[in-house]
Amino acid sequence: MVKHCSVFRDKTELEQGVAKMAELRQRFKKVVLKDRTDYYNTELPSVLELGNMLDIAYSTLIGALAREESRGAHTRTDFPKRNDEKWMQHTLVTKKDDTFSLSYKDVSFTKYEPTERKY
């Protein structure tokens, strides 16, 4: 993730990241528990955590790849401009039967309207 999905990212890096992460998620399916006891088994939570982390990492990657603009800590070197017209939206990732899909939701403003950062 540090290599492929840091603050500065671009299409090539992200695509490679998505492919690698997909592979890691496949490998994770074969994960085994070596500690088979049920008493303070600290390996079990770390395996569960690993699975969740891979899902989150994959979601982050596909979301970043789709968002062709720059915003805050998401700096696409290939799309350096912020694009409020198209991307003033939350990215939603849904996982169903092991496939991930993207959808979007409008941002609702209350008191403060978001403006571009100028520093």
């Binding site: 528990l33 070596k34 006891t37 049920d38 008493y39 303070y40 088994n41 600290t42 390996e43």
Partner: protein
């Protein structure tokens, strides 16, 4: 750099682990690596059955206190190479004064129960005292008096090394007492007197033997002993003196005033009273046999007793002058 470790293992649910044993591991340590990182690398690459607690990895959550070469430390704030250079070995064990559950994991229930006992929350007055508006101004000095006690991360290192806790499991212990002071010493607190009464009961503030271990081993500079001493002097200032501890202090003060030194035999009597002192006779005889019994008649009043009394008079005068607000 290759470092060999010995880690104390225990698992009451398996046949081989029922009796504690030491297991040897070996790791490749890099500069700056902490003991916790070493443990995590062993669990990840060599032996996933090794159990220990950790969370923040930056000495703020208080999960990872263990014994490193015999002394309680945070695994995440101890670098393995300098530690190994010092001790020429790397023996990791669970902390002391707690029941071991598995490997380096101990039962923290008694720790939390003791903390509960000191009611670790502020008890402000129910109705605002006269002249007090909504806000209570806290001066820098007020904050300073309790600041040290607020830094506790509940790691249990102090309790692990506490000598009083080792002989009396019911003793509230340094961590809980530091927390108690955090509230007793708070200017917004109202329940202070009541708290001090409870804290002066058996297994409270007077159980501490002042070995200073809790100050030495606390990774956060909490100084529980400082808190305990402040609680003790507050309790005496509040007139809560009907207990062995306060009586002992009074006897000490009076003995020095009278003869210029501690008359230990007479102090036993004053601290415990007649009947309980009689019970101490076998203990006294044992001390005598080992040449440790103090002989008050051999040490009469010191020569320059006048100087001692001058000090007492001076303290009295100062106390009178400073009769505003008692400070910590």
């Amino acid at each position: 750099m290759k470092i060999d470790l010995k880690i104390r293992r225990f698992n009451p649910t398996t046949k081989n682990g029922r009796e504690p044993y030491y297991q040897a591991y070996s790791i490749e340590a890099s500069e700056g690596m902490t003991v916790l990182e070493a443990l995590m690398s062993i669990a990840a690459a060599q032996d996933p059955t090794l159990s220990f607690r950790r969370s923040c990895r930056s000495s703020i959550c208080g999960s990872c206190a263990i014994k490193i070469n015999g002394f309680t430390k945070l695994a995440c704030s101890t670098q393995i190479i300098p530690e190994h250079e010092k001790a020429h070995e790397m023996v990791l064990e669970p902390i002391a004064n707690h029941t071991v559950l598995k490997d380096l994991i101990v039962d923290f229930d008694p720790f939390w129960k003791k903390l509960d006992k000191v009611k670790p929350y502020l008890m402000p007055p129910e109705t605002q005292p006269e002249g007090r508006t909504k806000e209570v101004h806290i001066s820098e000095k007020d904050a300073e008096a309790i600041d040290h006690a607020q830094k506790c991360i509940m790691c249990g290192s102090c309790n692990s090394e506490c000598n009083a806790l080792e002989i009396e499991k019911k003793y509230l212990g340094p961590a809980a007492l530091a927390k108690a002071w955090r509230f007793v010493g708070d200017v917004r607190e109202e329940g202070g007197r009541k708290r001090l009464g409870r804290l002066s009961d058996d297994h409270g503030i007077w159980d501490c033997v002042r070995c200073v271990h809790c100050v030495e081993y606390c990774p956060k500079g909490v100084e529980p002993l400082t808190a305990i001493e402040r609680l003790r002097s507050r309790a005496i200032q509040e007139g809560i003196k009907d207990n062995h501890g306060a009586k002992h202090v009074e006897a000490m003060v009076n003995s020095v005033k009278k003869v210029g030194r501690l008359d230990e035999a007479a102090m036993t009597f004053k601290t415990l009273g007649l009947l309980r002192s009689l019970g101490m006779i076998p203990f006294g005889l044992k001390m005598e046999m080992h040449g440790k019994m103090p002989h008050p008649h051999l040490f009469p009043q010191i020569k320059k007793i006048d100087e001692v009394r001058t000090i007492y008079a001076e303290i009295k005068r100062k106390n009178k002058n400073a009769k505003k607000k008692p400070k910590g």
